[in-house]
Structures are given as C-alpha cells and as structure tokens.
C-alpha cells in the first residue's frame, strides 16, 4: 500500500517525510518536487513515473503526498490524505506550514499510529486524542485511564465510545445544516438544484445509550401510512436520494427497515449526510439584467428576492457580481445593504447582513470600461451567492424524534436547530463579452 508519506510546503521543502516500506528511497521526495511542485501545468492529482505513483492533495499552504509502488486503492489513498488533514485540524486548530513545523514530533507520532506498513489503522480523532498527546498538554484522560482500556476500546466494535461516561444532566443537541446548491442557466431555468445536508449531533449522554433517530423520510413514512392510512403525513415527507452515516450507525438495520439506530460517540460528531433533489425550496431568486451599451459601458440591474416565510431572516447575505476585466470605474446604487467594487476579485460585492423573508432588494449600476488594446479572453463567471437562513430547510427535512434507551433509564433533553446555507449557488449570466459578426 502506501510506501511513503510526505508533507511539503509551497516552496517544495520537505516538512515531514515518513517511509513505510523499503521499496523506495527518501530521495523520491525530490522527484515529486520537480515533477509537481515546480511544474506549473499539473493536470492530475495522481502522477505515475515508472512504477512509482504520487497522490497529492493541497491544503492551505501544504502539499500532502502519499507515494505507492503498487496498484493502490486510489480512492482510499485520497480519503486517507483528507483524513490526515482533519486529524491535524482537530489537534492543532489549523493545519498549515506553521502548525506542521511546530508539531512535527507529534505528527510523526500520529503517522506511526494511523499507518502501519502503509495500511491505515484507527484514524478516529477522538480515540487518537486519548493516547497521542502533546507534551505540553497531557490529556487528563490518558493519565487517568490505563492504556489497556484505551487499546481495547480503540480496536473494538464501538471504538468511538468509552463505557464509563457520566453526565449529571443528559442532553443531546441536533443541528440540521443544509447546503443548497443551485446552477441557474442564462435563461433563468434551473439546471441543477439540490441539497446536501448534514446532521451534526452533540451528545452528552451517560453510559452506553442506544439511540433511535427519526426523520420525515418519505420511504419510511410511506411504509407507515400504508398501515395507518395517514395520508397527510405523506405530503410533508421528504424524498432522500442518498445518505451516509457515521461509523456508529448500524448500516444493516438501515438497509433492512430504514431505521437509524446507533450508540453515539461522546461529544460532537457528524451523524449523517444526505442528498435530496426533489422539491428543493430555493431561499433566494436572483434576476440579473446585464446590458452592454456600446463598448465602454455595462449596465447592471440585479434583483434578489427572498423566497421564505416573512417570519424568518437570512443572515450574512453576500452576492458577488463579476465585472469585465477592463472595468475602469463603477457606479452602484442599492436598495438595501452595502455594495462595493472589488477590483482584485473583478466583481461587485454586495453584502446584506439581514434579509427578511419575502422581501426584495435591487442593485443597479453601471461599469465604465477602459478600451483595450488586446482583447483578453474572459469567460464570464456566474453570479454567486452566500447566505444563512436559520430554522429553515430547503429540502423540507424535519427531525421527528430522537429516542434514547439506556440501562439506567434516565430522561434526557433533546434540542434541534435547523439552518440552510449556500453551497455553490450560481446564476449564470448571458455572455455579452463576445462580439458577434453577421454575414
């Protein structure tokens, strides 16, 4: 499997170099620097030279590189690289050159633990933190608990949870976070609209709780309604295209009867991810009108309408409207929020800290263009949007219940929050930049 693992900075200096197998030399690091880091035109994340393959992922100002000499499982190698980045973030807050340099000893320790002979081992951050600790801050748990307990847990069937957790107050918080993705064509038709959702849970529950979690999942409810004949429920149900679960969820059980049951890890974790494409409620509609007047002026009129209930409010709404590369000056008026021209991004950035449901805002303005001697190729990027709407889900997904079963039979308090934010929310604009000739 993975024969060597390297971390480079942007200049191509090796920060971490760990060999797992003897089939290559440390100097193989130079080959990657020459072939990828110094090469301006790299068009693939995998490069094979001879029988040596380099897999690289970029994060912050780092190159994370795995080297193999076999027909490796490419998906696994990349997933592992990203896992390592996440472990780094969980340990150091940030995973960049500085963090790597300051913690290289710890990173070597981690690399020794998560890969053995090039095969990934336990990579659960919560478990790792129990026995791999920084010298300054010894984890209190590690001191208290003896290592045999840790190791049994780290390899067991519920490797994510200790057995002796106690809380005075048993609570569970559920956050439903949806990213809504939109691709709207120049004609204003929706090319793609889908929701990728995430259900985050913070569990502060004693003992070994068995949880059951219920959503307004259409497939599940349809089964129910056929028994009880509750037709009203069906209309509120959501069709989930696909979902993935945290390690702790019993996949077999979900496959057989679509119930989500699990023993949660302690603290915060991502319980599930899901994807829906049916009946997506788009929180915002954007109507852009862009007119080119002669060769020196472009007129903009962009109207944004909030499509959700007037009782709700969207926060941090940002609309980015691209401008031609030869824009000299811009004159903008807005009915709400603030807009300014950011030459470095070649766009008008329009920010609205609060945006009430069903309301509307308009930006109008003109861009003066300087005349160009050389016509530069510029494909017009789409208008993009950023926002957050609390207590709203684009998919219509609702949490129906969370049941907690534990031996000691304690009562627990559950909280649910919903939020929808922009994923990749893009509205294409007609290309006015191309000059048409007719014969």
């Amino acid at each position: 499997m993975i024969s060597a693992f390297f971390i480079y900075n942007q200049k191509g200096e090796v920060l971490i170099s760990r060999l797992y197998r003897q089939d290559l030399k440390r100097s193989v690091a130079d080959i990657f620097r020459i072939q990828v880091i110094s090469n301006t035109d790299v068009r693939s994340p995998i490069i094979t030279l001879g029988s040596t393959s380099f897999f690289h992922v970029r994060h912050d100002n780092l190159y994370i590189v795995a080297v193999t000499k076999c027909n490796a499982n490419a998906a696994l190698v990349f997933e592992f690289c990203y896992r390592l980045v996440n472990i780094g973030k969980a340990y150091f807050g940030k995973f960049d050159e500085e963090a790597v340099k300051n913690n290289f000893v710890l990173i070597y320790e981690l690399l020794d633990e998560v890969l053995d002979f090039g095969y990934p081992q336990n990579s659960e951050t919560e478990t790792l933190k129990m026995y791999i600790t920084t010298e300054g801050v010894k984890s209190q748990r590690a001191v208290k608990e003896d290592s045999s307990k840790i190791t049994i847990q780290a390899t067991g069937a519920t490797s994510w949870r200790r057995s002796d957790i106690k809380y005075r107050k048993n609570e569970a918080f559920i956050d439903v976070i949806e990213s809504v993705n939109l691709l709207m064509s120049t004609k204003g038709t929706t090319l793609r609209a889908d929701v990728s959702g995430q259900i985050m849970m913070r569990a502060y529950l004693s003992g070994t709780p068995e949880c059951k979690f219920g959503l307004n999942d259409k497939l599940l409810l349809e089964k129910d309604t056929s028994h009880r004949g509750l037709s009203q429920r069906r209309t509120n149900a959501v069709e989930i295209d696909d979902c993935q679960f945290h390690q702790c969820v019993k996949l077999g059980k979900f496959d057989s009867d679509r119930t989500i049951s699990f023993v949660p890890p302690d603290g915060e974790f991502e319980l599930m991810r899901y994807r829906t494409t049916e009946n997506v409620n788009l929180p915002f509609r954007v109507h852009p009108v862009v007119n080119e007047i002669g060769k020196s002026r472009v007129e903009y009129r962009v109207t944004v309408k909030a499509n959700f209930s007037p009782k709700l409010i969207a926060n941090n709404v940002v609309i980015r409207i691209p401008t031609p590369l030869n824009t000299a000056s811009i004159n903008i008026r807005v009915t709400a929020g603030r807009a300014r021209y950011v030459p470095a991004e070649n766009s008008i950035v329009w920010k609205l800290p609060r945006f009430q449901g069903q309301s509307e805002a308009t930006l109008s303005g003109e861009a003066e263009l300087s005349s160009m001697t050389v016509k530069k190729a510029w494909s017009r990027p789409p208008i993009s949007m950023d926002f957050q709407v609390l207590m709203f889900t684009s998919s219509g997904l609702l949490v129906r219940f969370l049941k907690v079963f534990e031996k000691s039979n304690y009562t627990s308090v559950k909280w649910v929050r919903y939020m929808t934010k922009a994923g990749s929310y893009q509205i294409r604009v007609r290309k006015f930049f191309i000059i048409k000739f007719s014969y």
Partner: protein, 695 residues
C-alpha cells in the same frame, strides 16, 4: 482545540558547520531535556534529508527511557538508519524484547511494530519469539499490530515466516473475536498471498466468509475496505450465494467514506456477473446509482477517481445513470481534471431526450477560458452529432454559433468536428460550407486546415470557387504541415475528377510540386499513386478516390471487452484511474533516478497518445488518410524502399508521366489492388513495376 498548539523551539532553523558535533555533545548531555531536544533536532535534520547516521550510537543510548515520546523518536531514527549500522542495531534488541513484555499494551505494540520495520537480518532472529507472544496477546491492540508484523516478516524472509507457523496463526486470526484484528489479518494475508509464489495463502471458505461478513459491519472504515477487497477476490459458488453476500455488502453504500462505497460497488459489479436473477440485477442497478452520484460531492481528488470509475461502470452497465446527466454538469470552479472527466461521461449519457440540455451546456463551456476544456467541449458537440442522428442539425447550429464568435481556437476545433459530421451525414449540411470557407485564412493549426481542405475536396462540385481556394495553397505548399499537404493532394485530385475542365493546370502543378520538391515520402508517394492512377484510367481513379466512405461512429473512448472486465476487477485502484491493466504501469524491480526520468518522458508521450479524445482524433485522421484505400494498413511508404529510391529518378520523367494523363493502354492493375484491401507489398510492387515499365 487550539489549546493543543504549543510554542516550541525552532527545530528547522538554519544550521552551522559542525552541527553533528554539537548534537553529539547534546545527546550525551546529563540533562534529560537537552538530550530530548537534541533527538528532535536529529529527526528534523533527517526529514530535510541531511545525513545524521553518524550519530547512531549516541541516539541509541537514549532508547531506554520512560518517556514514550522520546522512545518513539528514537525508534523512528532506528527504522531509518538501522541498515547503515547493522552491527550496532543488536544493541537495541534487548530494549525491544524487554518492551514486548511491558505491562502497557501501547508499548508492547510499539516495540513489535518497530522491530518489524528494522530490516536487518540479525534482528530477525530475535523477532520470532516476541512476535509469537504478541500474536497470542490478550490485548487486541497488540494482536492487530502483530498481525501486520507477520506481513513485514514475510516480506523480509518468507521461509522464516512460514516455517515458524506465523502464516498459519494469521489464518486463524481471521476468526478472532475483535473486528480490527480480523481486518488486519485479512490485510496481511492478502499482501502475503500476493507476494507468494503459490497464491494459496489466503483462501476464503464458508466459515471464514461468515466471519468476514460479521466483521464487515463492525470494523473501521479501512478494515471494511480490506474485507471488501478480499470479498471481491472470492468467487461465489452460485447465483444464490452471490446474492446473499451482495445483500450484506449493499449497506456499505451508505458509508460516509467514499473509498468504502467504491470498494462495495466493486464487489457488487463483480458479483453481478454471477447473479442470474433478473429482478435482483435490476434492483442492484437501481441501488448503485445514488451512492455513485453522492461521490460527486466528495473532495475533487476523490471525485476524479469516482468519475474515472463511473466511466468504466457505464461502459458495462449503460443504463445505470440514464436520468442523471445533470449531476455531471461542470461547476465553474471545478478543477480542470474533474471537468474533462465530466465531459466524457456526459457524452456517454447523451441521448435524444437530454441532448438539448446538454448542447446548451456544452455551448456554455465553449466560452470559458481554459483552452483545453473549451476544445474538448466543442469536440463533445461533434460527438453528440455523430452519436444521435436526430440531434445532428442542432449540433451543427450550435457549432455555427461558435464559429461566429471568431474565437480562433473555437473556430478551428469546430471545423475539425464538422468534418466528422460531414463524414457521418454526407450531403446534408453543404449549406454551411460558405460560412466555413470564410474562415480559411484564420486557420493556423494543421488539423483544422486539413479538415477544411478535406471538406472542400469532398464538396468540390458544389463550391464554385473551390479551385481558387485550393490554388491559394499552391505557393505555400512546401511550408505546410505534412497532414495538410496530404489533404491538399487528395482534395486537388478530387477537384480534378469532379470538375476536369479548368482544373487540369492546378492538379498538374500540385502533383509536380508534391513529387519533385517534397521530402516526405508519404506525400510524394501518394502524389505518384494519384498521378499514375489518373494517367492510367480516370474512371478507375474516380471509383477509387470518390468511392463511398465507411461509416464512422463514436469510438475511441470505449474499451475492449476483456480489458473492461479486468478493469472492473480493479475498481477504485490506480488501474481503474488510468484505464490500463496494472502490469502496464508497475515495473519489476526498482528504478534509479535516470530510469524514472526516462520513463517520465515515455509516460508523457504515452499519455498524449492515450488520451481518449486525442486518440479518437487520431483514428479520424487515419481514416482520412486512408480514405482512398479503404483499408487501415499503413501508408504505402512505410516499407517501400524500392519505390522511394526510384522516385528521385522518376522526377526527371515528370513530363513523360504527364503525357499519360489522358489515359493510356498501360496495364491498370493498380486500381484493383487499391480498391480491394490487399497488402502493401502488392501495391508497392505494382507501383514499382509500373514505374519501371515507364522508362
């Protein structure tokens, strides 16, 4: 989380001379902190590639310590430099063996893990006893580490691992109660099996199968992949068993780790060959689609692997994502390698229902800035036209719109694909030829030029000024690329055959230049062949040059059956990314830097050759080149020393040849072999004989 960040001395700071000397002093220091900092400095130097092997004895002295962190650092050093100091490594053995008896399982595991990585013969003798003990350890963490250690030992000394019964212990460990031990035993066995000569180390039978299926639901994500990979190599006895296993594998589609999902898909794709129940197969196809689509929401690199695999899966099961074309639409900020893969898949999914949507999407891409992506998008439009008959007219319209943008490379690419569309639908769209011809001057790429010239030749009778268009090239003929020259020769001959009046002069001039002034034997010989043909029997020439073209289709990006099956066995691996069997990129033995460099160049060449779209273009060109021969064998010159050597003499006789134009009584055995696909030699012999008989 930030509380883990601690400020520490700068271990990567620049160094002075005599550094190792100072480090040596520090390593021998009486103060613990000083020694530890020195070890860290040594590791930092090792990382940046400095040779610190000289400090071996001093570092080794620091091995016996209560400080786990320090111990790990010394072990790290040992793994690196053990080979340079095989004699001294023996000194470490005692500590290792003692550590494998430690009460702390973490230390036991660390010792056995590290010992396995020290590849010195002398150490191995001391490894067996501790390893035997660790394989039977009460603690699963130690057992799972020992399991991998067996694979390390086998790699070093297969006989020793087998004779000591370690491999047998590993086989028993597949039935361990702990899921992670099972997973690591499977991993180790798979590796040993691969390396063994007999390939019978890891055989799954019914009891182990049950164990694996149980462990599958309990172990870590990486363990699941190991088990799924083992299942993929297992051959179920019948359809029923395959169905049973598949049912246990399908829940893994819901795993959050994309590589687990792909490994599960691999098992299902392989078992689908055995499953006979239609209902089950339908169900599997239906269940596979959503997780494949979900993979497109992963990190771009994982997406790339997924897309390459979807490409394979679609070639095997074309119905799988039939209604999902929209999820493959490119986002503005997708990396180029993802965009190009999405394009490939969109063409595969194109049908008469979604083609309108696809075309407007492709048109959108054609106005982006990335030249490579734009060109491939334009090419995709052409492929749609060839694939879907009903859509060809719409495709032509989109291409015309693109030509009107006057963006140079878009125009050139559009003309290249229009040539193919003309090939597929002859006599349907000649109306657009004037528009194309307006762009003749802006074309500067050989392929685009050659394409337009081919169109002119093909439709010479409908283009009033075809002769004028071609004449403009006569003066620059020598400077043209050989691809363009070949097309010019053929197009001019076509023009002459279609409009013999008033074009005789052009043909004569062109053939004269091509035969007398051209260094390229391909072109010279083709000119001679035509000349000969024209002079012998114009009717035969017509039959040959203007014969019907074989139909073309979207080929090139589909793989042959056996290769496809082999690649499906390799889903999710490098082979599936490259669409090549593993042995093509895995050499035997190690490569020096020079060899790597050399291979890199070869690889690059190969890549440009292998790139599917380019490959297709190439076949198209070959088709063009071979049009008149109706045969894929190489161009006549490839093995014709006789005719090439004669040709210099022959140039002197151009006038003689010209006299033959009107047709003579010479034997015309030339046209027959050309029309039928006979061997090159035959043609060449014929040609040479003819040439000889001329004098």
């Amino acid at each position: 989380m930030n509380d883990f960040r601690v400020t520490k001395p700068k271990f990567f700071a620049t160094t002075k001379k005599g550094e190792n000397y100072e480090l040596r002093a520090d390593l021998n220091s009486e103060y613990r902190d000083r020694r530890k900092d020195a070890i860290k400095k040594v590791i930092a130097n090792m990382t940046v590639g400095k040779d610190v092997s000289g400090l071996f004895p001093e570092v080794l002295k620091n091995m016996q310590t209560e400080d786990l962190e320090q111990k790990k650092l010394v072990y790290l050093y040992l793994m690196n430099y053990a080979k340079t100091q095989p004699e001294l490594v023996i000194l470490a053995v005692n500590t290792f063996v003692k550590d494998t008896d430690d009460i702390n399982p973490l230390i036991r595991a660390l010792a056995i893990r590290t010992m396995g990585c020290i590849r010195v013969e002398k150490i191995i003798d001391y490894l067996c006893e501790p390893l035997r003990k660790c394989l039977k350890d009460d603690n699963p963490y130690v057992r799972k580490t020992a399991a991998i250690c067996v694979a390390k030992l086998y790699d070093l000394n297969p006989e020793l691992a087998t004779e000591n019964g370690f491999v047998a212990v590993l086989q028993d460990m597949v039935s361990d109660a702990n899921p992670m031990v099972v997973a690591n035993a499977v991993t180790a066995l798979a590796e040993i099996n691969e390396a063994s000569t007999t390939k019978d180390i890891f055989v799954i039978n019914t009891p182990t199968l049950t164990k694996l299926l149980v462990a599958l639901n309990e172990c870590t994500e990486w363990g699941r992949i190991a088990i799924l990979t083992a299942l993929a190599d297992y051959r179920p006895s019948d359809s029923k068993e395959a169905e049973h296993i598949v049912e246990r594998v399908i829940p893994q589609f819901q795993h959050v780790n994309g590589s687990v999902v792909l490994s599960a898909i691999k098992v299902v794709m392989i078992y689908m060959r055995i499953i006979k129940t239609d209902e089950m197969l339908r169900q599997l196809v239906r269940k596979m689609a959503p997780p494949l689509v979900t993979l497109l929401a992963s990190a771009p690199e994982v997406q790339y692997v997924a897309l390459r695999n979807i490409n394979l899966i679609l070639q095997k099961r074309s119905d799988i994502l039939q209604n999902e074309i929209r999820v493959f639409f490119c986002k503005y900020n997708d990396p180029p390698y993802v965009k190009l893969e999405k394009l490939e898949i969109m063409i595969k999914l194109a049908n008469d229902k979604n083609v309108d949507q696809l075309l407007s999407e492709l048109k959108e891409y054609a106005s982006e800035v990335d030249v490579d992506f734009v060109r491939k998008s334009v090419r995709a439009i052409g492929q749609c036209a060839i694939k879907i008959d009903e859509a060809s007219e719409r495709c032509i319209n989109v291409l015309l719109d693109l030509i009107n943008t006057k963006v140079n490379y878009v125009v050139q690419e559009a003309i290249i694909v229009i040539k193919d569309i003309f090939r597929k639908y002859p006599n349907n769209y000649e109306g657009i030829i004037p528009t194309l011809c307006q762009n003749l001057e802006v074309l500067d790429e050989p392929e685009a030029k050659a394409s337009l010239i081919w169109i002119i030749g093909e439709y010479a009778e409908r283009i009033e000024n075809a002769d004028e268009l071609l004449v403009t090239f006569l003066d620059t003929f020598r400077d043209e690329n050989s691809q363009v020259q070949l097309q010019l020769v053929t197009a001019t001959v076509k023009l002459f055959l279609k409009k013999p009046q008033a074009t005789q002069n052009i043909v004569w001039r062109l053939l004269q230049i091509a035969t007398s002034e051209c260094d390229n034997p391909d072109i010279r010989d083709r000119a001679y062949v035509y000349w000969r043909l024209l002079s012998t029997d114009p009717q035969a020439a017509k039959a040959v040059v203007l014969s019907d073209r074989p139909v073309i289709s979207v080929q090139g990006n589909t793989l042959s059956g056996p290769l496809l099956e082999e690649l499906i066995n390799n889903i999710s691996t490098l082979a599936s990314v490259y669409h090549k069997p593993p042995e093509t990129f895995l050499g035997r033995g190690r490569f020096g830097a020079d060899a790597v460099q050399r291979r890199a160049i070869e690889e690059q060449e190969e890549a440009s050759r292998e790139s599917p779209i380019q490959a297709q273009v190439k076949t198209n060109i070959e088709n063009l080149l071979d049009l008149d021969f109706n045969d894929n064998s190489a161009t006549p010159t490839s093995n014709t020393p006789p005719s090439s050597s004669k040709s210099t003499n022959a140039t002197a006789n151009v006038d003689d040849l010209l006299d033959l134009f009107g047709g003579s009584n010479m034997n015309n055995d030339l046209s027959t072999p050309l029309q039928s696909s006979s061997s090159n030699n035959h043609q060449n012999n014929g040609l040479t004989n003819d040439l000889v008989s001329l004098f």
